[in-house]
């Protein structure tokens, strides 16, 4: 638990962050990513897609009583960050995100041209 100072810093690359555990599942329609980010409210979650790079970033915002003194800390950094490289067949303009109970669900569909197609084989 860190001091809840009034000074708000903008996250930079240099700031330490936790790596959230993720599950990545791919099926024929696209990729679904689940990330565990407990303590991050909706307004403190930042998703950036730039070229083929997807960045997931979130600030932990916990309600703390005044004058709290920590005696045991396992989550010592109030921030999560993880960067992924997207492949070409994914349509990064169609990313949809849901955040529920600290779990982020990202759906990245495959681009139209990359969708599987059945090729008919004609028997002559």
């Amino acid at each position: 638990m860190t001091d809840n100072t009034a000074v708000k810093k903008t996250p930079t690359k240099e700031e330490p962050a936790l790596l959230p555990p993720v599950d990545v599942i791919e099926d024929s329609s696209g990729i679904t990513l689940f990330a565990d980010m407990p303590g991050v409210p909706k307004d403190k979650l930042h998703l950036h897609v730039e070229a083929d790079t997807l960045t997931i970033e979130g600030e932990i915002d916990l309600e703390r009583p005044e004058g709290i003194v920590a005696s045991h800390i396992e989550v010592g950094v109030p921030r999560y960050r993880r960067v992924f490289t997207l492949s070409k067949e994914l349509d990064s303009t169609q990313v949809s995100a849901e955040l529920s109970q600290g779990v982020l669900k990202l759906s990245i569909p495959k681009a139209e041209h990359a969708q599987p197609r059945k090729v008919e084989v004609k028997v002559m």
Partner: protein
């Protein structure tokens, strides 16, 4: 699991805590997994003169299935995290998130009031506030 008091009272555990803090200061990312060494859920514990505060980082759990108990000064948080089964044609590329049953136990300080407990679950964090006994709180004594 190694036993370690979460409420240091003696100088040895204070030393232990100091060592951890120094380590964390040097290794700015204390855990590469986001989940610290203690297991799932990761926990932060703190206190104020009026209460003991426990934060359990347990995302994606139905709060109704969480089992929180206080018995003889020991707090137990237990539950199960289930993930939706992937369909047959889906491929799992990365599989890091915790799945299954979990249980964590915290020994509480002696001055807590086991009847004044409040537990809330929001944004995937379970926060348990346990009030300290009235008799244990600092009081000003008037001189007759």
């Amino acid at each position: 699991m190694m036993y370690r008091s979460l409420f240091p009272r003696d100088w040895l555990s204070e030393l232990d805590r100091l060592q951890h803090e120094v380590q964390n200061a040097f290794h700015l990312s204390p855990s590469i997994r986001g989940i610290a060494r203690g297991g799932f859920p990761a926990m932060n514990v703190g206190g104020t003169p009026q209460s003991v505060e426990i934060y359990a980082f347990a995302p994606g759990i139905d709060p109704a299935t969480l089992d929180v108990q206080i018995d003889k000064g020991v707090l137990t948080i237990a539950g199960e995290r289930q993930r939706q089964a992937a369909t047959a044609e889906a491929t799992k590329h990365i599989d890091e998130r915790f799945e299954g049953r979990f249980r964590r136990v915290v020994s509480l300080p002696d001055d807590i009031d086991a009847n004044a407990v409040e537990a809330r679950y929001s944004d995937g964090v379970l926060r348990i506030s346990i009030a300290r006994k009235q008799s244990a709180q600092p009081r000003r004594i008037t001189i007759q």
